[in-house]
């Protein structure tokens, strides 16, 4: 059983006990523990069930490569799935439970899957699509859906908060081991801005547990000295617990800082996403140990040798009294020696190599450890924990020559440099046959905008673990040279010494001639349950590309993205295909290096600040009145103002009738307002609008349409001429920024020699529409401006002081009523709004919302951009030829509108639609024509674009685009509805109300 040793554990603070709960059990650890070390200290060898076969699984690793120990962490609003125990710091009160088990971890129904493993082969998922056909929908799909996914999805809103931080550095260094520290020292002491990020909570990486010596002293001494030096440098920023997760173009880097995870509820952000721009990036990310593929290599108690050593040194965790070590390299001997020195038993070191020459095997033998060369593990015994191993010759087929009882197995299949960050942005790899690993190819780095490499690898991540200091020194100097900075030449290079290691021997399957039965128990990908036999089956079925094999077998597709399995898997594939490993190649490394929770990516963008809401100067008033808001772009505009028990339809009806019969007030502040000024302003607007604006007299307004180059209607609005050279262009509420950009685009890129300046003054003014038969009375009460018919006729504007407010009053109408739109500086908006309500109370003044506005404009047959237009409609479709100048030689869209399809008389064109029964046609309904098309769909001949109940007329009215509509006045068209009924409507003129304009022209 795994236990805590009585002493030791360099990361532990035994004075502080931390209580935690695992699967309902109360357990104890110490401050400094990871969740994984605390579980092992409590003899939790088995912590999970595997994904596909629900096999018992234990902790394999001590770092982010851990495939098995994933937990549902926390509860309620702090619940989070798939949290890795090896990278989760223990804290008082931590609660977690294992995933993918039912009904319990110890007794799991799903484990029956392993009895049926032969019916769940590689590519099972895809095979279910093929045969028998009906099975997919009714049998496989429901089962797979039920079992897919490891953790549970959170149910509650996340109680924690997250934030982003933009940071900049000359040199960003990922990884705070020996290489990262040395690179930081060189770059930092040379004066560069350095950001050094380390994913764990400790500096120094593997050096201490690997027995490294620097400058003749234990590595720990040098690490402490380097840190002291770096901390004192103001140009160096150090961060622990911060994982560099992705490298992107132009030196953009994302890193994830764990801030308040161990202190939930203390007000700190849970995580912080660093969004970094770096001149140069040094990846000093170390290497990951590979498992060996032997039968039963997934039984709880089988661990990576170096990870087991880490648990021993760092957390004083004994994996059991008796540990068998199995290896193909010398590094694992360090684990055997460490166990022995801790007073634990190592009954045997199984070394697949035939001859052992290095000093480490000798040292092991000198300590009395039995070492067998050329041996292999035939199978691991035990199901929920290791009970022993049966042994065989590596060169053979697995004939058992001895059995040994043990509690744990420490395995090492060699080391793979962590090349992820190097590869994210296109860095290429080379195969090193001696070390049997891929490492960065310095000749083919990721390239920056200058065509030169912007990422450099250093130390173990560069395949240079024995030479980490010098390699990092070199990387830092090269980075500085690239940045045009001078590296200090007076720094001494630390001398790094590791215990001497002899050559490793690649071992991809153990034993090398293992039969099918053994290969079907050799796990490559623990998390997705992919075995050696699965990859071999894929190869037999014709999968020759590593990318296809990955997807077919799901090798490396789990949350660990194959950190342990990729190289072993592709080696097995290469062997099956009889190819060399570099010819088979790797799958693509993509960010993030380790999963990032969505909350971190969202950062501050949640709740009230999920999106910017634009509020008019009168927003608070609307809100206080209980207005129902609707989104218009990012604006929130009052849709209607329900009173008492009124529903929205009733409120809209009241608002329309009140405006038509008395006095309505509309907050029109969102309307786009763009100033266009200059000697060429008239000429410019003549190009932008379909009509002529240059002839507009000062003091007058004119309605205009804007089209894009293809002739499609893009925006509309009223233009007022302020003086000889200045025009004020009103745009739609949603279109202001887009049209302003459109204007600047033409002025800056095409007509750069025209003398025109623009300014978007949308937000400078609050705008209030005073609408209805009593509008003039109200304005006269405020006084100060002559708003009589004679002084301010329809489509005129005046400037003045109205009731003490500096205003511009436009006599324009979107409702068909007597109407004034009053623009006032936004800082006065609320005060004027209040005053109009106060003064107009006895005249029946009431606010109206956007829906009443829509209804009234539809009653008048006025189009609305976005309703009558959808990007495929030209003004001619809308019967608006009157707004298109025939005299102008050109305007934006003119050529487009002359194309044959645009002049086709069969185009759908705007008409009014009057239902025969007075009902309202459903929004979006299509008019059907006889017959059907090749797909068996009913022919259509038009669609509804606006449809409302008209309170003024007491029945449904609509506008729509109908094929040859204007020629078909009086005809009946059919609109089938989604409920199976059909609404019949007569084609009529689109102006339903006051066609002569008598009401607005008073």
């Amino acid at each position: 059983m795994s236990t805590r040793l009585a002493s030791g554990g360099r990361f532990l603070n035994r004075a502080t006990v931390q209580n935690f709960v695992f699967n309902g059990k109360r357990l104890r650890g110490f401050a400094g523990d990871t969740l994984a070390s605390a579980l092992l200290a409590n003899d939790q060898m088995m912590v999970a069930r595997s994904f596909k076969y629900h096999r018992p699984r234990g902790i394999v690793a001590a770092g982010p490569e851990e495939p098995n120990a994933l937990f549902n962490m926390g509860r309620g609003a702090r619940f989070e799935p798939n949290q890795r125990a090896t990278t989760t710091a223990l804290f008082e009160g931590l609660e977690c439970e294992s995933q993918n088990h039912w009904p319990s971890l110890e007794f799991d129904i799903g484990a029956l899957n392993s009895l049926a493993a032969h019916v769940l082969p590689a590519g099972f998922y895809y095979k279910t699509f093929i045969h028998p056909r009906a099975f997919w929908k009714h049998v496989f799909e429901p089962i797979i859906r039920h079992s897919a996914g490891l953790g549970k999805a959170p149910q509650d809103r996340d109680a924690d908060r997250y934030e982003h931080l933009y940071a900049f550095a000359d040199v960003l260094i990922a990884g705070g081991g020996i290489a990262g520290l040395q690179a930081a020292c060189v770059a930092g002491e040379s004066g560069a801005r350095v950001l050094l990020l380390e994913q764990t909570l400790h500096w120094g990486g593997r050096a201490v547990n690997d027995g490294a010596q620097i400058d003749g002293a234990p590595a720990q001494d040098w690490i402490a000295a380097a840190l002291a030096k770096l901390t004192a440098l103001p140009n160096v920023t150090l961060r622990l617990g911060t994982t560099v997760s992705g490298v992107y173009d132009h030196g953009y880097v994302l890193a994830n800082e764990h801030v308040g995870e161990t202190t939930p509820g203390d007000g700190r952000p849970k995580q912080r996403l660093w969004r970094i721009r770096a001149g140069q990036i040094i990846t000093a990310t170390g290497a990951i140990e590979r498992p060996l593929s032997f039968a039963g290599n997934d039984v709880p108690g089988v661990m990576l040798a170096a990870s087991l050593r880490d648990y021993l040194h760092d957390y004083a965790v004994s994996p059991g009294d008796r540990t068998v070590v199995v290896t193909n390299n010398d590094d694992a001997y360090l684990t055997a020696i460490a166990l022995k020195e801790a007073g634990l038993s190592v009954p045997l070191i199984v070394d697949a190599r035939r001859t052992l020459t290095g000093p480490l095997p000798q040292r092991a033998r000198d300590l009395g450890i039995r070492v067998e060369a050329g041996w292999a593990i035939a199978a691991v015994k035990g199901t929920r924990r290791v009970t022993g191993v049966s042994l065989c010759m590596q060169a053979g087929e697995g004939g058992v020559i001895e059995e040994i009882a043990c509690d744990a197995v420490a395995m090492s299949g060699g080391w793979s440099p962590v090349v992820h960050l190097w590869s994210h942005c296109g860095g290429k790899l080379l195969w090193n046959p001696e070390q049997a690993h891929f490492h960065p190819d310095p000749a083919r780095p990721p390239l920056g905008a200058d065509g030169k490499g912007f990422v450099r690898a250093a130390g173990a991540a560069n395949g240079q673990s024995q030479n980490a200091c010098a390699d990092a020194d070199h990387a830092a100097r090269a980075a500085l040279a690239h940045l045009g900075q001078t590296a200090r030449t007076d720094l001494t290079l630390p001398v790094l010494e590791h215990p001497t290691q002899a050559a490793m021997a690649p071992v991809w399957v153990m034993p090398q001639g293992a039969n099918q039965k053994l290969r079907a128990k050799m796990w490559l990908d623990y998390q997705n349950d992919v075995k050696v036999s699965d990859v071999q089956l894929a190869a037999r079925e014709g999968y020759v590309s590593v990318e296809h094999t990955k997807r077919y077998t799901t090798l490396g597709m789990a949350t660990d993205q194959g950190k342990l399995s990729n190289i072993n898997g592709l080696a097995v594939l290469a062997d099956s295909l009889n190819e060399e490993i570099p010819q088979v190649g790797t799958t693509t490394f993509r960010p993030p290096y380790t999963p990032i929770t969505l909350g971190t990516l969202a950062g501050e963008a949640r709740g009230e600040i999920f999106q910017p809401l634009r509020r008019s100067p009168m927003h608070e008033w609307h809100s206080d009145q209980g207005a129902y808001f609707e989104p218009v772009g990012h604006w929130r505009r009052p849709y209607c103002y329900p009173r008492g028990a009124e529903n929205h339809a009733d409120a809209v009806k009241r608002e329309v009738l009140n405006t038509r019969n008395a006095l309505g007030l509309l907050d029109a502040s969102t309307l786009g307002k763009i100033i266009v000024k200059g000697p060429d302003a008239g000429r410019f607007l003549d190009m932008l609008y379909t009509g002529v604006m240059s002839t507009l007299p000062v003091g007058k307004c004119r309605y205009g349409l804007m089209c894009n180059e293809n002739g499609f209607l893009s925006d509309d609005g009223v233009v007022a001429r302020l003086d000889e050279q200045t025009f004020l262009c009103h745009t739609t509420s949603g279109g202001a920024d887009r049209i302003h950009g459109w204007m600047e685009d033409w002025l800056q890129c095409e007509w750069w020699d025209w003398q025109v300046f623009t300014a978007n003054l949308t937000e400078q003014y609050a705008q209030i529409a005073v609408v209805g038969p009593k509008a003039r009375t109200l304005l006269e009460r405020l006084g100060g401006v002559d708003v009589s018919k004679e002084a301010l006729p329809f489509m005129g504007w005046v400037e003045g002081t109205l009731g003490g407010f500096p205003v511009r009053i436009f006599r324009i109408s979107f409702s068909g009523e007597l109407s004034y739109e009053i623009a006032v500086p936004a800082g006065h908006g609320r005060a004027l709004w209040d005053k109009l309500h106060a003064e107009g109370a006895d005249l029946g003044a009431m606010p109206y919302g956007t829906e009443a506005l829509h209804v009234m404009r539809a009653e008048k047959g006025f189009i609305m951009i976005g309703d009558e237009t959808d990007g495929t409609v030209i003004p001619q479709d809308l019967g608006m030829s009157w707004a298109i100048s025939k005299k102008k030689p050109d305007y934006l869209g003119k050529r487009g509108q002359e194309r044959p399809h645009m002049t086709d008389p069969d185009r759908w064109q705007l008409v009014g639609l009057e239902t025969l029964d007075g009902s309202v046609i459903p929004d979006g309904a299509y008019a059907v024509a006889p017959g059907s098309n090749a797909n068996g769909q009913r022919h259509t001949e038009g669609r509804v674009t606006s449809t409302y109940f008209s309170p003024t007329l007491g029945r449904g009215i609509a506008m729509g685009l109908i094929r040859r509509g204007p020629e078909r006045m009086g005809q009946i068209v059919d609109f089938p509805t989604t409920t199976g009924t059909t609404v019949q409507a007569r084609i009529v003129d689109p102006v339903f109300y006051d066609k002569e304009g008598a009401k607005q022209n008073v």
């Binding site: 908060r161 934030e163 982003h164 931080l165 933009y166 940071a167 900049f168 801005r193 920023t237 308040g260 203390d266 007000g267 700190r268 952000p269 912080r272 969004r275 721009r277 501050e604 963008a605 009230e608 600040i609 999106q611 910017p612 809401l613 634009r614 509020r615 008019s616 100067p617 990012h634 604006w635 100033i675 000024k677 200059g678 000697p679 003398q755 300046f757 623009t758 300014a759 003054l761 949308t762 937000e763 400078q764 003014y765 002081t801 003490g804 407010f805 500096p806 500086p825 936004a826 800082g827 006065h828 609320r830 005060a831």
Partner: protein, 191 residues
């Protein structure tokens, strides 16, 4: 006539820096003109302001002028001087091709004060605000999370942000969230 109202007038938040909205409207004037035109420099000189260099904000007394783009400046004056300054500029540039408009009401102005002011802004603005890089007198047009803004530093630990009026609440909420106690990141100064 009532006085114009500034967005969120005087609202303030004490986190690990102080965030406050302007207590009164600031007079703001956008000038669009050929910045190389000597008439522009003369017009500014008439209001005692220099022509700012690229990405600079220059202050004389209680008036400032900022470079906003290759053909755009922003003049900041106390609101009481707005009319007079507008008239002065219009007179000085009459006959020139230039656009001079009052944008005082289109903007909201916030002040961020404290040792960690730059860090709070670095959480929402993609700008290198390190003291060694972003000095006093630099004007930076950028974004605050999802909306446009401009920011400058008038003294160490004293930043100013302007944004559009309609998103004043959004930007204030952003600043408050970033400045919450406990969110010290120690980016430029130890937390």
């Amino acid at each position: 006539m009532s006085d114009p109202v500034a967005p969120l007038t005087g609202a303030s938040f004490e986190g690990y820096v102080t965030v406050s909205a302007a207590t009164a409207p600031m007079g703001m004037i956008t000038i669009r003109a050929d910045l190389a035109d000597p008439a522009l420099a003369q017009a500014l000189a008439a209001t005692s302001l220099p022509l700012p260099g690229q990405r600079r904000i220059e202050t004389t007394g209680d008036a400032s002028v900022a470079w906003m783009s290759p053909d755009e400046l922003l003049v900041l004056v106390p609101h009481g001087q707005l009319g007079a300054t507008m008239a002065q500029l219009n007179a000085a540039l009459s006959g020139q091709h230039a656009l001079i408009v009052d944008v005082s009401d289109a903007r909201a102005l916030f002040h961020i004060r404290g040792v960690h002011a730059a860090e709070v802004l670095a959480k929402i603005c993609p700008v290198d605000l390190a003291p060694s890089v972003f000095g006093i007198g630099e004007m930076r047009r950028t974004r605050a999370a999802q909306v446009a803004c401009a920011l400058w530093q008038s003294a160490p630990g004293e930043f100013h942000v302007i944004c559009f009026r309609s998103v004043a609440v959004y930007v204030f909420d952003l600043l408050k969230t970033s400045a919450m106690q406990g969110a010290e990141a120690g980016l430029f100064h130890p937390a």
